[in-house]
Structure formats: C-alpha cells, structure tokens
C-alpha cells in the first residue's frame, strides 16, 4: 500500500475526484498540507461554495485569489510546514468573465458578451461551466508556474465525471457554427436551409418565445470572434490533464455505492487516457484483530472484567455491529482493488470525531502520508 507522498513524487497537478459526501475536500486539503510539509509550494483549489475548505483550513473566507495559510496554525497541531500552503476558492463566473476579456478582440465585443442575458445564465448556471472554469483556472495557475504542486478538489456534481467532458461540451456549445449561419436574418444560408430547418426554428420560437431566440442569436454573434481562441485553449487544457505530470486520485467511501462509482470513474479515466494515480477510501472501519469473537465467551470475559452483565452484553453487541461494518468495508475494498487491478488502495479510518478542523486534518494527514506498515500500526492502536 503506497503513501500519497510517493504517488505524487514529481507531479505538478493532483486532481481529487469522486462523488459528493465522501470527504473529498478534506482529503484534498490534507494532501496539500502533507506536500507543503515536505517542502513544496502547494496551492489547493476548490469550487465548492459551501466553504468547507475555508473552514477546515481555519480561514475566514476564500476568494478567487490564492491566499497563504498561516503555518503557525499547523505548528500547533504538530505539523511543520517546510514549504508553503496556499488555498483558493474558485469563482466560476469571475473566471469566465476574465477568460472572455482575454479572448475578446476588442472592448466592444467583450461588453456585448458580458452584457448578454444568455451569457450571464451560462457563466453562472449552465451545467458544466463550473467544471470547465476549474480546469481553466488550473491551466492558468500551471502556466504561471508560481506553485510546485496544484491540488484540485473537483466539484461535487451529481455525476462525478461531468468535469471530464466539460471543456468539450462547452466549446461545442459556444461554437454553434452551423447555428450562426442560420440565424443571420438575410443570410444566403437561410434561403437554402430548407423547409425542415425553418419549421424547426419557428416551432422553437413558438415554444420559448421570440425574445429568447433573439437573445440566443445575439449571444452567438457576440461570441463569433472568440470561438477559435476558446477552442485552442480547451485543447491545451485537455493535453495538460493527460500530461504524465498530472495525477488523478479517486476518493470514495467504503459502502457499496461509492465503491461502484469509484470503479466506474476509474474506467472512464482509463478510457480517456488520463493518468490515474490511486484510490483513497475514507471512513473505513478497520477490522479488529479478532474478527468474530465467540459471542458468549466474549460476554463472559467482559462480564468478568466489568462486573456488570448488562454492560458486557451491550459492549459485545456493539462489537458485533462494528465488526459487521468492518467486514463489509473489507469486502468492498477487496472488490475495489480487484476491479482497479491495484494494491494501492489507501484506507483512512473512520475517526471518533468527524473531521472538520485543523486537528482532524492533521490526523487524516498522518494516515495519508504514513507508509503501509505505519498506517496499520496507527489503526491497530485504535481498535
């Protein structure tokens, strides 16, 4: 079982991916902390508006600019940051606006796009635009070269894979080359487009109203000068994701469903020829040394020590419940390792307190960066 530090050796970018509710933000923060502790200048990016990252790093707020985390905060938790730890929360809309400003041929074109109502909806609300902007920001930071390592906490989308598709989907959308031709009111194309197209347009107009159609036409016209720039950039973003210096870590929980999703996610990464680094399973119930104690013997032994039959009974029941979960987790993790054809499943135990602050982060950090045998030892000490 490898340690995260070994997996990330020589990498520029680490992308943590997985479905919602599996502790992805905490894991991303812990990875960034651990690598900063090793002397790197690290920046962790999130686009989660729930302020999870800011909370867990002890920051009041995070904005679209990277902010350095005070190393003193970690020193009090026994983690020495030899490098630097920075964090930022991505503002998708602001990033999109910046990108438009950069790609626009002139100020007038820029203002036409920024002022368009369709654009305003897309830049903040269209599915995929947040993900696309996360990739965009990652690309920008990587090009600037200010950091040794960038750690991205991907958005908790309904479908954990949306972001892989996002650059392609969005450029396709913005392109709309065929559409622009049809929408020019006096264009030659309109005359040769045929009856089917004009009916389709008129029905669409009947359904959504003339107004919206006019806004769409205006949007595509305003964007027309920027399409090539956007596409070229999306291409470069895609090759950055596929670069061997990039590493995808899949984060999941030990239950059946998250494991299924991790398997699916891994397959998609492989299909897309993206560099898979490893899988981290959070909140694992580690099996105790004695998996199935003889119920009656255990109750008797406990009762002898405790002098309390009822307490011994309840302790034994609780132990059986715990072990059932530990067995489930072990079986699911075994399945995960088989499906992914890897021994590299990193397990983080289910801690007594939920992890939401620096102390919790420091503890998670110990597991992620410990060697295999160290990790087993820490875990064994717990149960």
């Amino acid at each position: 079982m490898p340690a995260v530090g070994d997996i990330l050796e020589g990498k520029d970018i680490c992308i943590c991916a997985g479905s919602g509710g599996v502790g992805k933000t905490t894991t991303s923060a812990a990875i960034a902390t651990g690598m900063a502790a090793r002397g790197l200048k690290v920046c962790v990016l999130t686009i989660d508006p729930a302020k999870r990252l800011a909370d867990s790093l002890g920051l009041k707020e995070l904005g679209n600019e990277a902010k350095q985390v005070d190393p003193e905060l970690f020193a009090t938790q026994g983690v020495e940051i030899k490098g630097e730890l920075w964090a930022m929360m991505l503002d998708a809309k602001a990033t999109f606006d910046e990108l438009v400003a950069r790609q626009a041929p002139d100020e007038e074109a820029r203002d036409r796009v920024l002022g368009n109502r369709i654009y305003q909806q897309i830049s903040s609300a269209l599915a995929g635009s947040q993900e696309y902007m996360a990739m965009e920001k990652l690309f920008e930071l990587h090009t600037e070269g200010r950091f040794d390592l960038l750690v991205l906490d991907t958005p908790p989308t309904r479908n954990a894979l949306d972001f892989l598709d996002a650059p392609r989907r969005l450029t396709q959308f913005i392109e709309g080359r065929s559409l622009r031709v049809f929408m020019r009111p006096t264009g030659i194309a309109a005359k040769v487009a045929g009856r089917g197209t004009s009916i389709a347009l008129s029905v669409f107009k009947r359904i959504v109203g003339f107004d919206l159609l006019a806004d769409l036409a205006e949007f595509f016209n305003a964007f027309s000068g920027m399409v090539d720039g956007f596409q070229a950039r999306a291409k470069r973003v895609n090759s950055l994701l596929a670069d061997p210096h990039t590493c995808f870590l899949v984060v999941c929980g030990p239950q059946g469903e998250p494991v299924d999703e991790a398997v699916y996610f891994h397959r998609k990464l492989v299909e897309a020829k993206l560099p898979f680094g490893g899988v981290i399973v959070n909140k694992v119930h580690y099996p105790a040394e004695q998996l199935r104690g003889n119920g009656e013997d255990l109750v008797k032994a406990l009762a002898d020590k405790l002098g309390d039959e009822s307490l011994a009974q309840r302790t034994s029941e609780n132990f059986a419940d715990y072990q059932a979960l530990a067995e489930r987790d072990a079986a699911n993790i075994k399945r995960l390792a088989t499906e992914l054809r890897t021994q590299g499943v990193i397990r983080v135990p289910y801690l007594d307190e939920d992890v939401h602050d620096l102390a919790g982060l420091a503890e998670i950090n110990r597991y992620l960066f410990a060697s295999s045998s160290e990790r087993e030892k820490i875990a064994a000490g717990r149960i």
Binding site: G20, D48, P49, A50, K51, D55, R117, I118, A125, L126, P156, R158, N159, F173, G176, S178, L179, F182, G196, T197, I199, A200, V203, F204, R206, I207, V208, G209, D211, L212, L213, L216, Q255, A288, G293, D297, L298, A301, L302, K305, L306, D308, L311, R314, T315, E317, N318, F319, D321, Y322, Q323, A324, L325, R328, D352, E353, D354, H356, D357, I383
Partner: protein, 278 residues
C-alpha cells in the same frame, strides 16, 4: 413507504438517472416510466430528454411533427443551448405527475409526489429554475408555464421540502444555510429536517470510563470490544452535540433516524425507517 402504507398513491421521482429507488426495491431499472414497486408506491426516473419529447408532444399534439422536430439538428442544438431548459422540463414533468387531471394519456392521479432532489448547492438552483427561466423568456407560452411551475414550488400549502442532514459539523452548517436559502430566496416551505444516521447511545459516561480501563488489557477480544465501545460512545456523543446544534440553528422541526448497522440498505431497512417516521 410510509405514505403508501397509509393508503396514499405515492410516486418517487429521481432526477439524477441513478435509479436508487428501484435499486432499493431490487427492481430492474424503471427509466422514464411510472412503475409500481409495491402496493401504492411507484417510481420514475425523470430523464430531461424524454421530458422534453413529452412536453413538445403535448404542445404540438401531433406525433409525426414532434418526431420531425427532434430529427432537426437545429432544434436539438437550440434546446441544448438554452440555459435551464433541461431542468425546466424536468420540473415540468414533476408538475404533470402532481396534476389531478393528468396531461399524458392514461395518467392516473397521485396523492403524493416525492422528489429526490439534487444535493444542496445544485438543489437551490434546481428549484429556482422556473423563476430564472421566466425572467429570460419574457414572452411566449413557456414564460407563463415557467411562472406556473414557480407557483407550484412556492405553494406552501401543497409543496414542502424535507431536508436530510447528517450528524456532523459541515452537514449541520449546510442544512442550516439551506433552510435559510430555501425560505428566503426560493420561497418554498421547509416542513421538517431529518437528522439521519444517528448512533444509539449504548453507554453512559460512567460505563465508558469503566470500559476505558480495559483498552490496554491483555485479552485481545476484550480489548478490541472495549475500544470499539469507546469509539462508538465518542461518536454518539459528538452526534448528540451536532443534533443540539442543528436544533438551535433551524426553524423547522427536527426528527431523527437511527443508523442501521447493516452492510447494505435494502427494502427491509427502508421499511424499518418508514416505521420511525411520524
């Protein structure tokens, strides 16, 4: 299950194409069909593309014309390009299911329509779609239909949100913020909040102290059992603190649901939880 057991014809709508409901009932995938899982309990997975086809058919009335339209590249392109249209037709389908006089052929009325909504951040946006859309499309039939959908969502007498939280720091913060945003920004009623996955309180503090003395003992089984007990005790205690914090921070009544120590939650587990709902 609870509503169905009380005799209400109930349907669970999923909007994420994950089919968790049919999985719980060990039923094959239901897709965009109303399928009965058990008596009175139906399930549907609302696919936006299918909703769009159905919606356009209801508008045009002629199937052949609808099919021609969907073969048109430009129509598909425009439909995909219009922000929020997918969410809008999804909510439109939910509205259709909730009608006493169903629009689709052979549709029967439901007494209760339950929607498994997208998670926090996306959920707010989802419920706001009709209003946003009514603002973009200022005229035309879709404008008035979007307004109608917004009225359905904000009809506090007939529509309500149940927030599901976990007894941990972040979920409690997010649930409190979610309740606020749903009430203030969306204008939907928040009827209740479920604190899910609550551990039982098996041990008192005195008993935990007693068990603490066994955690370094020599008998492996006793030591492991004592450690597991302490771990559970600490969890249960921190969960109670989170439950109290949630109750202080929200207005809606908070109900609790127990953590079930079962490897996978299936129909029996769901039945157990149904009995706990009042």
């Amino acid at each position: 299950m609870r509503a169905a057991a009380e005799g209400k014809r109930t349907i669970v709508c999923e909007v994420s194409s994950q089919e968790n409901a049919s999985r719980i009932f060990e039923h094959t995938e239901v897709g965009f069909h109303e399928v009965e899982m058990t008596e009175n309990l139906w399930s549907i997975s609302i696919d936006p593309d299918e909703s769009m086809r159905e919606y356009v058919l209801l508008q045009l009335k002629v199937r052949a014309m609808r099919d021609m339209l969907f073969r048109s590249r430009i129509f598909n392109y425009l439909a995909a390009a219009t922000p929020g249209l997918k969410e809008l037709v999804t909510i439109g389908k939910i509205w259709e299911l909730a009608q006493l006089d169903r629009k689709v052929k052979q549709g029967r009325k439901y007494d209760l329509v339950i929607v498994d909504a997208p998670a926090t951040g996306h959920g707010i946006g989802f419920l706001q779609t009709p209003r946003t859309f009514a603002a973009i499309a200022r005229v035309g039939p879709i404008h008035s239909q979007a307004q109608q959908l917004d009225r359905l969502i904000t009809d506090q007498e007939h529509t309500g949100v149940a927030i599901v939280a976990l007894p941990e720091e972040m979920p409690v913060n997010e649930s409190a913020a979610l309740e606020h945003d749903l009430r203030e920004d969306v204008g939907v009623a928040v009827d209740r909040i479920y604190m899910n996955g609550l551990y039982p309180e098996r041990f008192s503090n005195e008993e935990a102290a007693q068990l603490g003395e066994l955690t370094d003992g020599e008998d492996g089984g006793v030591r492991a059992a004592a450690r597991a007990a302490l771990s559970e005790h600490n969890r249960a205690r921190s969960q109670r603190a989170q439950l109290a914090r949630l109750r202080r921070r929200v207005e809606a009544p908070v109900r609790t649901l127990p953590f079930l120590f079962e490897p996978e939650l299936g129909v029996e587990a769901a039945g157990q939880l149904a009995k706990r709902l009042g």
